[in-house]
Symmetry: C2
Subunit: 410 residues, 2 copies
């Protein structure tokens, strides 16, 4: 049996332990929902108020140049780049994930004009599927969007596939896909690869350069802790820049925005994919949130993430054998930074847990999701969370609940 | 001759005078660039920090429901609605102006499937033209975008025109267009009307209901003072809701976002035009910025705006007769809330003025723009600003400058 004392020993030797103090957390609560919305950090508060008081309040309109607001989308992109293995100049912060997907899908289709199929995952986050369909419906030629079982990708790839879009970590199951292997297969078929990093950025080590990824987009409000509705980011491999055309152009992506020219001429590099200015206050929050990453590597984060999720799974099985179906893969290379437990009473279980100070979330129809962010979670938090899950499951509400264990969706 | 004392008398009886104290302004500076970026107000600081500390910091993911984040785009839309004459449920806050134009142009084209022309103004802000062309290029049928002289609109309207998009107040000249008259003409031709309110919202009284406007979009960082890159807003007349389809759909515009359905079904009302969540921190800034409008009517603002711009024009002509070409119309009904002065040395003049604490801006090739926001500007500020312009024009740099007066673009 794993003990709470063993967890305390792990915390005592945890080289990331000090980072917890950067975040404003309720000490009575265990927050396992950073995969939905990361918490506030002190540097976010500081940086937002600096932009409010100094840059906007005092600098006013001059700050577009003097405080570097014009360059903020690419400057912040360069701060995210190392977290996904991108090079400087390949990442842009702007808009939201859905708009960035719209830009990249539209742009990618124009690069494969003789092809008529886009493949995505039937288990994808629904917003991805909606925007892919909407953009494909306006591609100027008939495009079929196929929502496939991702495990059948090999048999779906052929010379009519223009683009494949997949989310690298499944938002329900927490399964992490083989980015390099899949990208290579897609390229072998002559198609382009677009990855959604919503549940990957800041959660798992990524190397878009080594994997030869064409395009990617992600959000910053989960494991990057930029706050509710925080801006998105996109990655465009350097070799595509200057070729790929932004289908939603705006003046800030123009080569000479202040010449007010009637004809659009794209700026150089990834800047061409800026449409209009994102909120500088929202960007300030992201800027502050990224400070913590100056003190940690993705390899350190990954090692602790796997240790936390291993511990959680082990404790759940030890304390409540057979009670849940652990949907998240056991193999490390196939696991993101969350654990999904399936239970037919999942909704009620999550509500009862929140009442006891353990915040996870529910995803229909039967998934209890628990996110593990190594920047602020302790091993002892994992122990205590499982302890409270066990209390909930032993309570009158769930003691006799029927739970339907099905095959894991992996 | 108008005296500084007369201006002080006007300030003493100004019923809006107290509102100035809501803003954080440098008392040594006269800020005539609120038409580009409005200043910070105290309630913005308060509201942003409330969202940071209480709603995000303590409420965390629960605030999507508990703090009303899910409903924020329509709640804030309802705060803007009275400023443009819209009814509750017709305005939405989200994204940026350019994306909202993309949505509305795309959606409008689908409502006039047998027509092939979109008209816009050659003098329009260039971003509008770029996005209109980009959306029309992906309309699924050939669409010609004509960038016309807006004064020739009558002769361009015919039964092949699907949509007319115009900016209600010209960003360079400050001319205010006859929204009701133009909308009626466009409707007579069977076309749809989309107005850009970037320089109108909070600047001139608007009545979209009386003018029977179909669609409109605007930004909030100018006269509504929401901060750099603040969110946009859109208006969709109630009779279009449920008919008009969002061409850039996302999960938050779905009828049941948390059912995670594979097929998109639009939410009721204007909510269907939400794609993904805007930044709640950026929305908090707007929320705070709108507080000042609880204490003032657009009619009060308009009366003072006209008095300020009348005074500015009179002082410029009295102190520097013939030195500038006043491009902005003299007739009140054709004037926005800015004054544009043309001078061939405009760029240098604006730089010299900024050095002397008068902040205006320059728009190529030769326009000096001065914005007048009645919420925080005093009559004496106008007097002092013109005084400093006169000093600049009498200085060595400009004393002998040749200036080319041309015909006003009105």
């Amino acid at each position: 049996m794993i003990t709470r004392e063993e967890c305390m020993v792990l915390d005592a030797s945890d080289e990331l332990a000090a980072l917890r103090h950067e975040f404003t957390l309720d000490e009575h609560e265990i927050y396992l929902d950073g995969n939905s919305l990361g918490p506030l950090s002190k540097s976010v508060r500081l940086r937002v108020n600096e932009v409010l008081d100094d840059e906007w309040g005092r600098g006013l309109v001059r700050s577009w140049n003097d405080a570097g607001w014009m360059a903020a989308p690419t400057r912040l992109g360069d701060r995210i780049a190392p977290l996904i293995g991108a090079r400087p100049g390949e990442v842009l912060v702007a808009d939201t994930l859905t708009f960035l997907l719209a830009k990249l899908v539209g742009a990618a289709l124009a690069q494969r004009p003789e092809r008529h199929v886009v493949l995505t995952d039937v288990a994808n986050f629904h917003s991805d599927i909606y925007i892919i369909r909407a953009v494909c419906a306006r591609a100027g030629r008939p495009i079929t969007v196929k929502t496939i079982d991702r495990n059948t990708l090999d048999s779906e790839l052929n010379d009519d596939v223009a683009l494949v879009e997949l989310t690298q970590v499944d938002y329900r199951t927490g399964e992490s896909l083989d980015m390099k292997g899949i990208t290579a297969k897609v390229h072998d078929a002559g198609a382009l690869m677009l990855w959604d990093f919503a549940h990957s950025a800041g959660a798992v080590p990524l190397d878009v350069t080594d994997a030869d990824v064409d395009f990617a987009a992600g959000c910053t409000y989960k494991y990057l802790n930029s706050g509710p509705g925080g801006p998105g980011f996109l990655y465009i491999r350097e070799s595509w820049q200057g070729i790929l055309e932004n289908p939603l152009p705006g003046w800030l992506g123009h080569a000479r925005p202040f010449d007010f020219e009637l004809d659009y001429q794209p700026a150089e590099g990834v800047q061409a994919f800026v449409t209009s200015s994102p909120s500088m206050i929202a960007l300030a929050a992201l800027d502050g949130a990224l400070d913590v990453w100056d003190h940690v590597t993705m390899q350190q984060v990954r090692a602790k993430s796997l240790a936390l999720t291993d511990l959680f799974i082990a404790l759940v099985e030890e304390r409540m054998p057979g009670l849940f179906d652990v949907v998240t893969p056991r193999e490390h290379e196939r696991r993101g930074s969350q654990v999904a437990l399936r239970h037919s009473e999942g909704y009620g279980i999550i509500q009862a847990l929140i009442d006891r100070g353990v915040v996870g979330d529910f995803r229909a129809p039967d998934i209890c999701r628990f996110g593990f962010t190594p920047l602020y979670l302790r091993y002892v938090d994992v122990y205590d969370a499982v302890d409270r899950i066990a209390q909930v499951m032993a309570s009158e509400s769930f003691r006799d609940a029927k739970f339907a264990v099905r095959h894991a969706v992996t």
